[in-house]
């Protein structure tokens, strides 16, 4: 059947277009987040040599794990053209339920591994359900993700405040001692949260780039109609991105709870914006259709690094921390976007 279509073939000289001729401009577009991270790190060293200390680097990476893991989930949601504002409140809510559950299980199972495992299981289940609710209401209810997740954000935030009676929920001390290594422990010199972050990133990378699910996310985010006409179950895939986001939030919560052993209405405030910022700094398009996992990882580390560097210096007035953060975020994104004008059509 191939004969006719090919019979008047002219020279197919550029069948393998190379990106080489695009030169430096395209490099910055791809490597922008990484360049920004390196520049920021150099700045950190200049400001205070303690920045490169092993402890400091370890602290920083460990801290970035929460936002980083959540942001990896957000990369999928945003790539598929959605948005999840509820992640911060969801984390607080899951943390609250985990603590209450584990505290109440102490009587039955004692302060042992079983109790902690139950807590972890409950966290994952809750994350999955919360994501499913966001997804199903968005897709089947045909309501903008912004509104749905703004709503669930308020719901989870007030639920955790209610559970804590307006105060703070604190994990039983004995359970805490068993659970503590999940945040403070390390393996091969690298802390557990960093390992979790790493594995989530690797799995996220494979999911996004090497599975149908990931490819479908790109297609849906670019053009839902085309996805539908490509025999893709659009609603199903979109709901799955929210569920994946929920699981990521649950994982982040699992490593967050042992850090301070508490949850309150103030837990995870503004995490949603930090996660979205990390995703965008990493080169994912907020309007969907284009996403990069490693960029998100770099974005999350960068956000934490800014705070860390500001804590390492007293050269800048504390009152101006927000200004510095804002400028760095905008410059980091500008670095990637500016080149688009030259290379774009």
């Amino acid at each position: 059947m191939s004969s006719v279509m090919a019979n008047n073939k002219t020279t197919n000289k550029a069948a393998n277009p190379t990106a080489r001729q695009k030169g430096f401009a395209i490099d910055l577009k791809t490597w922008g987040p990484f360049v920004a991270l390196v520049v920021l790190a150099l700045l950190g060293v200049l400001i205070n040599p303690a920045f490169l200390g092993l402890d400091n680097l370890s602290n920083m990476l460990t801290r970035s794990a929460f936002i980083g893991i959540i942001a990896i989930g957000a990369t999928f949601v945003i790539t598929a053209g959605g948005l999840d504002l509820s992640v911060g409140a969801m984390a607080a809510f899951i943390a609250g339920v985990m603590i209450i559950l584990m505290n109440s299980l102490v009587e039955q199972f004692g302060a042992g591994l079983t109790t902690v495992l139950f807590g972890i299981g409950a966290s994952l289940l809750l994350g999955l359900c919360a994501g499913f609710i966001n997804g199903i209401v968005t897709t089947k209810g045909k309501i903008e993700a912004f509104i749905v997740t703004l709503g669930t954000m308020g719901i989870y935030r007030s639920l955790v405040t209610y559970l804590a009676d307006g105060g703070t929920l604190t994990l039983d001390w004995a359970v805490r001692d068993i659970y503590r290594p999940v945040y403070y422990g390390s393996f091969l010199g690298i802390t557990i949260p960093v390992w979790v972050f790493f594995f989530v990133a690797v799995i996220g990378y494979i999911l996004l780039n090497y599975t149908r699910f990931g490819r479908y996310c790109f297609a849906i985010g670019s053009n839902e109609k085309v996805a539908e006409y490509s025999a893709i179950h659009v609603d199903r895939i979109k709901t799955m991105t929210y569920m994946l986001q929920g699981v990521c939030v649950a994982l982040a919560t699992i490593i967050y709870v042992p850090r301070l052993g508490s949850a309150s209405g103030a837990t995870g405030v503004l995490w949603e914006l930090e996660a979205i910022a990390a995703v965008i700094i990493g080169g994912t398009m907020l309007k969907g259709g284009h996403g990069r996992i490693w960029g998100t990882v770099v974005g999350a580390i960068m956000l934490t690094m800014i705070g860390n560097i500001l804590n390492l210096t007293d050269a800048i007035s504390n009152y101006l921390n927000g200004t510095v953060q804002g400028i760095i975020i905008i410059v980091a994104v500008y670095l990637q976007r500016a080149s688009w004008r030259k290379t774009g059509a």
């Binding site: 205070n48 303690a50 200390g53 402890d55 400091n56 602290n59 801290r63 405040t161 804590a164 009676d165 307006g166 105060g167 703070t168 604190t170 403070y184 850090r259 301070l260 508490s262 309150s264 209405g265 103030a266 837990t267 705070g307 860390n308 500001l310 804590n311 390492l312 007293d314 504390n318 009152y319 921390n321």
Partner: protein, 321 residues
């Protein structure tokens, strides 16, 4: 109420006025509605305020059947201004107990409440204009800073390196830091750095982690707030530097007071800034209506140092804070 015991009250009574009117009856027979407007429980201390307000409402309503108390909580200053309007127009209140979200923006809304003939009690954060409120009940932020500073100065024998974690940039935070600096002024106590930890555990943890990697020797930490202090404790534990320093928080959270009671070396003392002041204010407001004379003036609650010896009287195991 233990807090009343510790109140250093400058009581400007206007008893003369009441006798002049010659109004010597028993408790008012008619019903009195008191509106209480407080910030929502967004962090530990305001959580405590909510708890104590609810407790006081239960207690006072049981005690005085003619008194009805309505509590409303607001997430922002604007929301609180709306709440005040609603309390006047919908609830028809006779008295208002308000813990303003922020002093500036709420001064005018409170004045309008006052103008409609309502008895006004302002708690904790003074209005920017004088003479609006009938009754003012507050903690002393300046003193909290001073007491903390004096303790640290004394404990270090006037010499040492310390770090400070500040709250959310507000007047409250400024007053505390000012009092603290005045107290250590002239000594060899050296502040290595001050950073904002926003009265938040996570921020306290992260800021302290960075202090610990930046400074090899820290003799004391002034965390200013018990939520921050809890984050600081975890960071110090992680770095295994518990033996090198001690931490001074503030407010009187039950977890911290428990540690003080138990003689924790890391947290030897706490400085009181009680969320129960809302209950004090409600008590006094009710007194205004049920006692013979009007209750007006200023009640400034002190910020005593809580030590292992006196910790028990500040310990409320049932409070969320």
């Amino acid at each position: 109420m233990p807090t009343i015991k510790t109140a250093v009250a400058t009581f400007a009574t206007t008893a003369a006025l009441s006798t002049a009117i010659g109004f010597s009856g028993a408790a008012v027979a008619q019903e009195v509605t008191i509106g209480v407007s407080i910030p929502a429980a967004t962090h530990g201390w305001t959580g405590g305020v909510n708890y104590h307000a609810e407790e006081a409402k239960k207690r006072l309503e049981a005690l005085y059947p003619d008194i009805e108390i309505t509590i409303s909580t607001a997430g922002t200053a604007g929301e609180q201004a709306n709440d005040l309007e609603d309390l006047v127009s919908l609830r028809n209140i006779d008295a208002l107990v308000v813990l303003p979200f922020e002093s500036g923006p709420l001064t005018d809304p409170v004045r309008r409440v006052k103008d409609s003939g309502v008895f006004v009690t302002v708690v904790d954060r003074g209005l920017t204009e004088e003479g609006i409120e009938d009754l003012y009940v507050a903690g002393n932020n300046h003193e909290l800073g001073r007491v903390s500073g004096e303790y640290i100065r004394e404990r270090l024998n006037g010499e040492g390196d310390i770090v400070v974690l500040r709250g959310i940039p507000t007047v409250i935070d400024d007053e505390r830091v000012q009092g603290f600096q005045e107290a250590i002024d002239g000594s060899e106590v050296n502040i290595l750095d001050m950073q904002h930890a926003n009265w938040n555990r996570d921020d306290g943890f992260e800021v302290m982690q960075d202090y610990l990697s930046r400074f090899d020797n820290i003799d004391a930490v002034w965390a200013q707030d018990d939520d921050i202090a809890l984050g600081v404790i975890e960071a110090v534990r992680q770095a295994d530097r518990e033996d090198e320093l001690f931490i001074v928080g503030g407010a009187g959270m039950k977890d911290i007071i428990k540690r003080v009671m138990d003689g924790d070396e890391l947290v030897p003392v706490d400085v009181l800034y009680p969320p129960a002041m809302i209950a004090t204010a409600m008590d006094l407001t009710v007194q205004h209506f049920v006692s013979n004379g009007p209750v007006v003036g200023e009640y400034i609650l002190g910020s005593p140092l809580i030590t292992q010896e006196n910790a028990e009287q500040y310990y409320f195991p049932d409070s969320p804070f």
